[in-house]
Symmetry: C2
Subunit: 137 residues, 2 copies
DNA sequence: TATTGTTATACTCTATAACTATA
DNA sequence: TATAGTTATAGAGTATAACAATA
């Protein structure tokens, strides 16, 4: 390990390693990490506005469009015009989407366990908390 | 914050936020985060083999080639055939490269302080340690 | 046989600007 | 005026495969 003290380096490397494990694991379901993230977010927050998905995941709204289209073409998500705002779309999983998410979630949980096996529950909570403190305003 | 418990989400978002702050900060020097990472690694480990740089930063050797070329064209780094392996290149900063790195390092340290201002020294060390435990082996 | 650096390629990600329709 | 979604585009990141030179 030649890396220095800069947190950015360690963050970058941890992310790369995690994605290098997750990507092939999800490939069997023809999903990429970002697509799973969308499915998860919509599953847990049904009716969520499309823009909000972008905000939560750090994906700009322009870049979100083709991702949403991809999931709609596969019949995994559906949209309705938002109740109180005709400009916005509310997102929902279809039955197909829920099945896909169920299978993907299992793959992702196995992946997280594989990647975090050296950390106990306390450390994992601490890590989550520390990451959330990064770059908050 | 609608995000769930999955560490991957929090890692992804922290990385995005950090890069969104660092990228424009380095743009004044016409550097990108990955180029600074290479400068830093070569500065601290003069003579490092090109392949090793890729390993340390999680960049594949094929993708490293144009990055090294970019820094050589700018006269920031130079190469020599490695002492004990004619296939490999040892990398060094030029005087120009050291000056560029000095200026970039100042920008990066300010950036890290901005991003991590909510964390004290203990938390920062803990974060670095936790990130290093992610995906070892 | 395996490894370092290279080339080529395809795909994905990301940032930016401009447009529309609604608010 | 501002916001949600869209389109278009260019640049950067990433994965894969194949090759030459050397180990």
């Amino acid at each position: 390990m030649l890396l220095g003290d800069l947190i950015g380096f360690h963050l970058r490397l941890a992310t790369t390693r995690m994605m290098n494990d997750l990507r092939p694991a999800l490939a069997d379901l023809e999903l990429r990490p970002v697509l799973f993230a969308i499915l998860e977010l919509v599953r847990v927050n049904p009716g969520i506005i499309q823009m909000r998905v972008g905000d939560e995941l750090g994906v700009q709204r322009a870049n979100l469009v083709p991702l949403i289209n991809e999931l709609m073409k596969r019949g995994a998500i559906k949209r309705k015009i938002a109740k109180h705002d005709k400009r916005a779309y509310s997102l929902y999983l279809t039955a197909t989407g829920e099945l896909l998410h169920d299978r993907a979630k299992r793959v992702v949980l196995e992946h997280e366990e594989r990647i975090l096996k050296r950390l106990n529950a306390t450390d994992r909570n601490k890590l989550r908390w520390l990451l959330d403190e990064v770059a908050v305003d």
